[in-house]
Symmetry: C2
Subunit: 170 residues, 2 copies
Amino acid sequence: MTTRRPTAGASARDAVDISTIGPNFGLAVRLLDLRLMKRASEVFGDLSLTPATATALLAIDANPGVRHGELADALRIQRPNLTKMLNQLVDDGLLRRGESAGDRRLVTFALTPRGSRAADSVRTTMAALDEQALSGLSRDEQETLFALIDKLTRALDETNADDAALLEAK
Amino acid sequence: MTTRRPTAGASARDAVDISTIGPNFGLAVRLLDLRLMKRASEVFGDLSLTPATATALLAIDANPGVRHGELADALRIQRPNLTKMLNQLVDDGLLRRGESAGDRRLVTFALTPRGSRAADSVRTTMAALDEQALSGLSRDEQETLFALIDKLTRALDETNADDAALLEAK
DNA sequence: TATTGTTATACTCTATAACTATA
DNA sequence: TATAGTTATAGAGTATAACAATA
């Protein structure tokens, strides 16, 4: 089969072996994310979406009428960035803006019929992407990897929350 | 302890549960990468480096006299982007530009004494970052996670290489 | 003609500060 | 005063196209 680009860390063809700089967990995660994002960007581009807007679309589909700020917190992104993404989805006719009855500052979002169809495509696409990406691992390995990544992310959120609490308490 | 930000996926405080959009491996990796990059950026900022330039510095330290193009291939980034990063490291006095004897198109790079000291700091910093980031997992879990991420990244590189080969063959 | 490295440009994702309109 | 959302801006990381110098 192919022998032109054997592996990520070291390669018979590469003159420089990046693995000589030693194990580096952060770098390993970044290299993996890079590859996943690249494939996802290509595929979502056909739907005029990006990985970030596609995720927002699914989140709104699962939580119709969600408020702007709630969504930003859930997606762990800053509000100004969410505003830009949602504006584009509204312009593209996938999202509908709404208001809250009582507090007129609040803005809510829900999918249009066209947005619902797009969400279906996104779900199918994401599932296919995940399956393809994970096809190199056994079922057990897939579940282990998923669980460890999730566990680590939660642990890091704890640490950050503790840091923030310390800063506030100082 | 802290109870204000319990977990990443679901939270007692969050009004919106992002996990309702279903399992999504790409998203999980992106959320983890985001947290690791944020901490790394803060720490490397003290050294006037970014995660990317810090990595380039270590790679050159491990491969003195490396060529521009070789390094870009090893780091899996495009040449124009590497040019910008290396220019800054040269401007900061961490890197020394060199030429190849025969082919005058080739550009090589090596660390200055100050660059060597910076590389030492980077190594220490990276090790500390990794240890802190992984402290939420057992030793076994750490090794399993690292191995699975590496395995998956290599598998994705294979896939991309096959795709490229197909395109060329068409 | 092909290759090395550079310049110019653009896009994705993220972040902070300052503003508005409501409360 | 405080909060929800917006506008404006910036920065890190990536990508492609077009170019100069050299082979």
